[in-house]
Amino acid sequence: MMLTRKAAPSVQGARIASAARPARAIRLAVRAEDGAAATKERKLGPLEKGGTLSGAAAAGKDASTKAVAAFTGASATGNYLQLRDGRFIDDRWVGGRWDLSKFAAANGETDWDAVIDAEMARRRLLEESPIPSTNEEPVLFDTSEIPWWAWVRRFHLPEAEKLNGRACMVGYFLALVVDQLTGYGLVDQQESFLGKLLLHITVFGVLLVRSTADLDKYKNLLDEATFYDKQWQATWAGVPRPSETEQ
């Protein structure tokens, strides 16, 4: 409805105007026709009017690079994490390493999270289906190219936040319990030696034992660390070593 009204307002307006006031109508019709001629070059089409955005600025973006390419007739999309003919192909993987310029974020700096994601995906892919190693395309990417603070920000900080939260919750709850039992408030508890000791135990306990699986892990570590030694000393069971008896 809107469309038809907008499409030919000048003509209808002119007709109505001419019926009511013939003299002014003619002037209006003339002006309207002038305006109509001008609008055909200046007025925006329906697809552009009304707050229509496009590309990244739009609330919904382009359907997919493949669809855009199909629509505009551009070549097919680039390669993304593919294994073809026993080779790893990705537009950002150049000369055996990740081309950091292709990971530029909006403000021009390298988006290290994206680099980490890409390398994780590549390793996962190759774990599932290993490819032969060739002399023509050696892999040269070293993870130390990613700066240390990117690792800290991505992996350490969330874990630290979680552990700190746990320590706080456990500590506060225990402080309340001790307060109820002994009458010492939160600050008074920490002034005693026992309070300080329990505080340390809580913090380090939460740090070392993050889940029940960790307890098994430590037991296993102890077994592993001493197993080989035991195997070597088996032949000396009950028999003193000559070097020991000499002394």
């Binding site: 996962r124 032969p132 080989y228």
Partner: protein, 508 residues
């Protein structure tokens, strides 16, 4: 009265055994555990009764028994030389026989197959060439470059720090074993072509009788024969019969599988003095796959402890990883052999000692065994020669334990360091990625090669060591962080329940 005499007997016996008191033939009461047949020197068989004798009634038979039984430390009667049988003619056996013969001991080397090509990587370190005076002719190739390839195919060239004269020697086992045996023979050892069947020691402290099938020249059928010796050195490899005879106990072993592939000349040029090591879950869960150049072909193989039934899959994966580099190759031989993972629970019993693979002297992480086999054979023989004063006196378990103690003290650090490396870096795919990343560092390369080529753990600059430790931890942390959440790779546990745990987790 009889009791006091008996007590004096016990004390005297103990003293003689400890070698403290000048040995003398103990007369009088003596108890023998089982009814046995003893063979005296002039091959006269004299049956013995089982009883405690305190009289002159059977003194003659007693004295014959006691003459056959010579205590440790006693001078050998009739001025004869000490006789030692070395079962197995590989590097450990041949070096033991050579050292024994050089020391004036009569050595008998019993080997079942004189042209045996034992399935082996064939890599010998520089210290072996130096210490054992190996001629350059037996070394087919000198490997000066080594490539380590991670699960994601990250390659690192290891060997940048090697000097002009340093190399890893690749040799043919049949050539090297034959050279060592011939050298032992030249020094005076008796080489016998035969297969040991059984070993028995009827009388404690008496001679040991070895029953074997002797193979005459070119004959495939063996004729039974016996040999009487005073000591036995078991050098017969991973499936040692001597170890079974003395009930030495079982050990965990890896199964190593290898295919020899003849590849085109242009591809062979790449491997002229380069060896490759592939790590990854696909290649082996707890070992590595290798491509070692031999004299005119390459050997592609892999090994595993925890998942032996899947060894063919691992071999296929290793071949796939090296597919492009070995394209157009033809398989000329397929072979497999067990590799011990740790020493047997009992490495000696009475006058029988184990050396080499039979004892289980193979390092973790690299699986190196040739040098340690040869060195243990030599050290055991040296201990026997020294305790017997060049073959003039009898010696026994105490001498063998001296060799075991010396061995443990000398090489324990090397074995433990390699064990720690295996536990840290062969645990999972991220750990292997970190391993390959660490090997890029020239300090690591220098330390690795120094300890491999010369078998000494040389302490470096402490500051460099601290830096190395920090870099190692950082590498491992990064590699583990890059592990995808849905990764299906299974971590290996190197503890006492390694195999069961791996199977349980893999199927869960």
């Amino acid at each position: 009265m009889a009791l006091k005499a008996a007590q004096k007997q016990i004390v005297a016996k103990a003293q003689a055994r400890a070698g403290v008191v000048a040995p003398r033939v103990v007369k009088g009461s003596r108890s023998v555990r089982m009814a046995v047949q003893a063979r005296a020197f002039n091959a006269v068989q004299i049956p013995l009764a089982v009883r405690r004798v305190c009289g002159s009634a059977s003194r003659r038979s007693n004295m014959v028994v006691m003459a056959a039984a010579v205590k440790d430390g006693a001078v050998l009667p009739e001025g004869r030389k000490l006789r030692v049988a070395v079962i197995g003619g590989g590097p450990s056996g041949a070096c033991a026989a050579e050292t024994l013969a050089q020391g004036g001991v009569e050595a008998f080397l019993i080997e079942r197959k004189m042209d045996n090509c034992k399935p082996c990587g064939g890599a010998i370190p520089l210290c072996m060439v130096q210490e054992f005076d190996l001629p350059q002719e037996i070394i087919d190739r000198k490997v000066t470059k080594m490539k380590m390839i991670s699960p994601s195919n990250r390659e690192v060239d290891v060997g940048k720090t090697l000097s002009e004269t340093e190399y890893i020697g690749m040799c043919r086992r049949e050539v090297m074993d034959d050279y060592l045996r011939k050298r032992a023979e030249k020094d005076g050892a008796n080489i016998i072509n035969g297969l040991m069947m059984k070993m028995e020691q009827p009388v404690a402290d008496g001679p040991i009788t070895i029953h074997y099938n002797g193979y005459a020249e070119g004959s495939k059928i063996g004729t039974p024969a016996t040999l009487e010796v005073d000591l036995v050195i078991g050098a017969d490899g991973a499936n040692s019969r001597v170890a079974k005879e003395i009930d030495a106990g079982e050990y965990d072993y890896a199964i190593a599988f290898q295919e020899r592939i003849r590849i085109p000349d242009d591809k062979m040029k790449y491997y002229e003095n380069l060896a490759e090591m592939y790590v990854g879950d696909d290649v082996s869960p707890d070992f590595y796959g290798w491509v070692f150049p031999k004299y005119d072909h390459v050997a592609v193989g892999t090994g595993t402890v925890v998942n032996k039934t899947a060894i063919k899959q691992y071999q296929q994966a290793t071949r796939d990883r090296a597919k492009v580099k070995t394209e157009g190759g033809k398989i000329i031989r397929v072979e497999a052999h067990p590799i011990p993972e740790h020493p047997r629970p009992r490495r000696c019993k009475g006058r029988v000692a184990l050396v080499g693979d039979a004892a289980g002297y193979v390092t973790k992480c690299s699986g190196e065994g040739i040098y340690f086999a040869a060195k243990s054979g030599r050290m055991c023989a040296e201990a026997i020669v020294e305790a017997s004063e060049n073959g003039k006196k009898m010696c026994g378990e105490s001498a063998i334990r001296v060799y075991l103690d010396k061995w443990d003290r000398k090489y324990w650090t090397t074995y433990k360091v390699l064990d720690i490396l295996q536990k840290v870096f062969y645990r999972s795919n991220p750990a292997r990625e970190a391993f390959v990343e660490m090997c890029e560092d020239s300090y690591v390369q220098k330390m690795t090669f120094d300890s491999y080529l010369y078998k000494t753990v040389v302490p470096g600059n402490p500051l460099d060591d601290v830096k190395l430790l920090v870099n190692t931890v950082a590498s491992i942390v990064r590699a583990n962080a890059l592990r995808a959440a849905d990764s299906k790779s299974v971590d290996v546990n190197f503890g006492s329940k390694a195999t069961e745990e791996f199977q349980a987790r893999a199927t869960a």
